[in-house]
Amino acid sequence: MSAPQATHGTAAWLVPALAYVVTVGALGVGTELALDDLSWQEVAIWTSVAYLAATPLLVIKAKVRPQPGPALLAALASGALAAFSLVLFFVALGSGEVSQVVPVTSAYPVVTLILAATLLRERVTTTQVLATALIIGGVVLLSVS
């Protein structure tokens, strides 16, 4: 297993980040359609089926052989957080309105900004904070409108 190559330049991270935005936007629409006839638990189970289908491809084609260590622990924590957060989101939606839950949950970049500055020692500028506030404000407006 080789370490990822460091790639610099805005496009290197902005293009996949925007691809994520479109993909997850489509995921939201797909979830809405699936939840017309299925429970969120069923959607979560079928999501895990898709992950399981992708895993052998990644292991065989990319020749990925994870080695034990702090990075693998962090990767496992990330996986657990991803799955756990999906359940939390559905539990919140089960008791609250979308217009209540989405504005609150959209605040997560604030946590990332604080932890990125303190734990990862990333430089967080006033411009970044302002831009993040605009995005969160926009999401809040979208969900309450």
Partner: protein, 139 residues
């Protein structure tokens, strides 16, 4: 109120930390490992749901659910590719703008109305994303 607020706040914490743990892992591991670890976690979740009484129904909507799963895998892949190359404090806020795409697609696919408030929300998101993109290119 606590019924929805507590899991919502826990979600904020979980996703907020996810960007950090992922960035830390991606300093030495390739993004493929992140997908494999997510698959492991989702499998545990699925088994827990099945063990606690969730039954699978054979509805045509399974097709949508599988599409959701495939999009989730693709989404996480793009997220990790972005985090592998950029800083968490840039990638995560930009990634948070996905409701913009969701609103536009819902208008196209589900014929949901785009109100003035939603246009204002989308405008704020685009302005924020453009500012972040420009800030990234100036580094």
């Amino acid at each position: 109120m606590l019924d929805w607020l507590l899991p919502s706040l826990a979600y904020v914490g979980a996703i907020g930390v996810l960007g950090i743990t992922s960035k830390f892992a991606l300093r030495t591991l390739p993004w493929q490992v992140m997908i494999i670890c997510a698959a492991l976690a989702y499998t545990v979740t699925a088994l827990a749901l099945l063990a606690t009484g969730t039954t699978l129904t054979l509805e045509p909507a399974i097709g949508w659910a599988l599409l959701v799963g495939a999009l989730a895998v693709c989404g996480l892949t793009f997220f990790n590719m972005a985090l592998e190359r950029g800083e968490a404090s840039m990638v995560v806020p930009i990634s948070a703008s996905y409701p913009l795409a969701g609103t536009l697609l819902a208008a196209i696919v589900l014929a949901e109305r785009i109100t003035v408030g939603r246009v204002a929300g989308m405008t704020l998101i685009v302005i924020g994303a453009v500012i972040l993109g420009r800030a990234g290119s100036e580094r």
